[in-house]
Symmetry: C2
Subunit: 341 residues, 2 copies
Amino acid sequence: MPAPRGHAPSMRDVAQRAGVSHQTVSRVVNDSPNIRSDTRERVLQAIEDLGYRPNGLARALAHGRSRRIGLLMESSSHYGPMNMLRGVELAARRAGYAATTFGVTSPDEFDEGIDFLRDQRVDALAIIAPRAQSLESLARVTLPQACVLVGSMPPDADGFGPIPSLPRVGVDQALGARLAVQHLIASGHRMIAHLAGPADWFDAQVRRNEWFRTLEAAGLETPPTVEGDWRPQSGYDATDALLAIPGVTAVFAANDQMALGLIHGLSDRGLAIPGDLSVVGFDDIPESAHFRPPLTTVHQDFQAVGEAAVDLLLQRLGEASHGSPQQIVPELVVRTSTAPA
Amino acid sequence: MPAPRGHAPSMRDVAQRAGVSHQTVSRVVNDSPNIRSDTRERVLQAIEDLGYRPNGLARALAHGRSRRIGLLMESSSHYGPMNMLRGVELAARRAGYAATTFGVTSPDEFDEGIDFLRDQRVDALAIIAPRAQSLESLARVTLPQACVLVGSMPPDADGFGPIPSLPRVGVDQALGARLAVQHLIASGHRMIAHLAGPADWFDAQVRRNEWFRTLEAAGLETPPTVEGDWRPQSGYDATDALLAIPGVTAVFAANDQMALGLIHGLSDRGLAIPGDLSVVGFDDIPESAHFRPPLTTVHQDFQAVGEAAVDLLLQRLGEASHGSPQQIVPELVVRTSTAPA
DNA sequence: ACGGTCAATGTGACCGTTAACATTGAGCCG
DNA sequence: CGGCTCAATGTTAACGGTCACATTGACCGT
C-alpha cells in the first residue's frame, strides 16, 4: 500500500499511469464489457499500484444515486426502536446500502432531520417515529418517494393515521396484544388489568385498544388502565393502582420492563407471581426468560421488521424485492409468570 | 412548497431566477459578507420560491469535507456496543455531523467496512470493536488520520494492544471492576468468584484481570473463573460451577445479564440473595434496579463515551474541542444484591 | 480631475465521477 | 477491394457545488 501523498489518487491518476483515458478506467472499475483483457490488466495493475479507490461522493453526484438510505429516528434507548434501528441498518447493508442515521430527541427536530438527509441525497428514507407527535411534524413536510415508516403501525385496523399515504412496516401489535390477553382469558382469568405505555406512543395505543376489544369480545369487564412510561420504575409505581382494581387476577403490561417493575412491586408487597397475580409482558427482551419468575410475553422479530422495511424501499427504488410481508407476526412466549386463575 | 419538476432546483436555477450569478447565490447561502442586502433579499426569495436546498454531495465533493463521520461497529445487540453507537451518533449530530453506520457481523467484514466508509469520504471514523479478533483485522488496514476506537480499552494499563497508535476512548473498565470487587471485600467477603465474559472481548479481559489483581492485592484467594457469553442463559448455566467453589460467598459477574441468569439459577436452587450469596453486576442496565433483588452493579455512562469520542475526532479534524477526558469514570451503584458476608 | 481602494459581483476552472457521443481500426461480405 | 459492422477506446459535457481571480463602480484624498 503506497503512502498517500497529498490527495487520494483519482481516476485520472490511474488513467495516466496505465496510459489510457479516464473513461477506460471507469469502464474497468464498473466492469463493463468490451475491454480488451490486456488493457483491463494494465488498468487493474495501476489501480493496485496507486491504491486507488473510487470516490463515492463523486460517483453519487454524477450517477444520481448515493447507495445510502437515511434513517431518521426518534432517538430513545427503548428496546423496540433501538432494535429496529439495528434491523434496518443490517438489512440495508446486506442490500449494499449504508445507513446514514439522524437521531432526534424531540419531535421538532424531525423537519431538520428530513432536510438534512434530503440534502445528503440519500436514496431512500426509513423513519422510526413511535409517537403520534412525531408523525404530525412529518405531515407538514414533503417526503421523498422512497420512504417508509418503520414500526409506527396505525392505532386502528382500518389504516387510520396522520399520514395515510406513507407505507409502513412493523410487527402486528394488535395481534400481539390479542395473543397476550387471550392467553390470560384461556387461563380462566376474568378480571384482567392493563398497565399501558405512554398514550402518545402508537404501540401503546394499539396494545391498549386491542386489550380493550379482546376483553369486550369475551364479555369481560374492562377496568381502568394505569399508564406508565415504559420504564421499570413506572411499573413499580403502578403496583398499588393495579391492586386497587377489585378482583384483579392478571395484568397485561405493555412491555417487559414495566412488567418487571410491577413484579418487583408485587413481591415487595408479599404477593406471589403467578400465585396471586399473573403477569404478561410485551417485547421479549433477552432478560425476560430469566426474570423471577420467567416472564410470559410477546416476542417481536425486529430483524424481520428491518428486512421488510429495506425490502419495501428497494422495491420503491426499482430494485429487486423479496416480497417481504409488511406486517410481521408476533409470537406468544409462555413462561411461568402466568398460571390458571 | 412548489412541486419539484424533474430535478431538484440547483444553484444555477436560483441564480437565474434572482438575476444574479451562481456565485452570488453561493455567497448568500454561506452567508459570506459583502452582499448588498437587497441582493440577498432577492436571492433568498428565489430560494424560497424554488424550494432550493444545497446539495450536500456536491458541496462535499468540492469542499473536501462531507460533515459525516463513519461509524464502524461489530454489530451485536449487546447493551454496551448498542449504547455507544447511540452515544456517538447523538454527539456527532450535536456537533453538526451525521453518522454513516456500517455494521458488521463478523470480523472479516471490517476491511470491507473501512473501505466502504473511506470510499464514502467520511471525515472521521469511529470504530466500535469490542473483541480482540476485530482489532486484528484492523491492524492490516490503513486507517484515516481522524480515527478513534470507542470502548475497546486496552486489556492492560500500560496501553498494550494490537494497534497502539490508535487513540481510544471508553469507560475505565479496570476501575469499574475494582470498585465492584472492593465493595465485596469491604463487605467482609473472603472468597469472591468471577463470572467472566467471553475471553475474546476486551472488556471481559480487563474486568477479569482487575478482579484477579484486586483479590491478590487484598491477599485473598483467586478461585478459577467461569466463562459466560454475556447472555442471561450463560449466567444461569454457570450456577453450579460457581457454587462448586468451596467457601464462595460472593460473585462478581462481568455484566448484569449474566448476573440476572445467575440469580435465577441460585433461586432455583433455593438459595437466597444476598443471604447465601452476594452478586455484583456490571453495566447498570435499566432493568437492574428492579431485579429481585435489585442488583448492585457498576454504572457506565455511554453517552459520555460518545461525547468523548466525537470530541476527540473533532480535535483531530481541527475543530474546537471540549477537552473531554478519554477515560470515563464508572460508578458503583449499591443496591440489595450484596450484603455483609 | 484622477489614480487608488474597496465593496459587490461575475467568470472560469476544478472536485472526481458517469453518460452520451465521436473516433478508430479490424474483420467481413459481396 | 470498398463499404459496413462492431469492438475498443477517446472526447466532451454534465452533476452541483466551491475557489481564485477578474471586473465593475462608487467613494476618497490630493
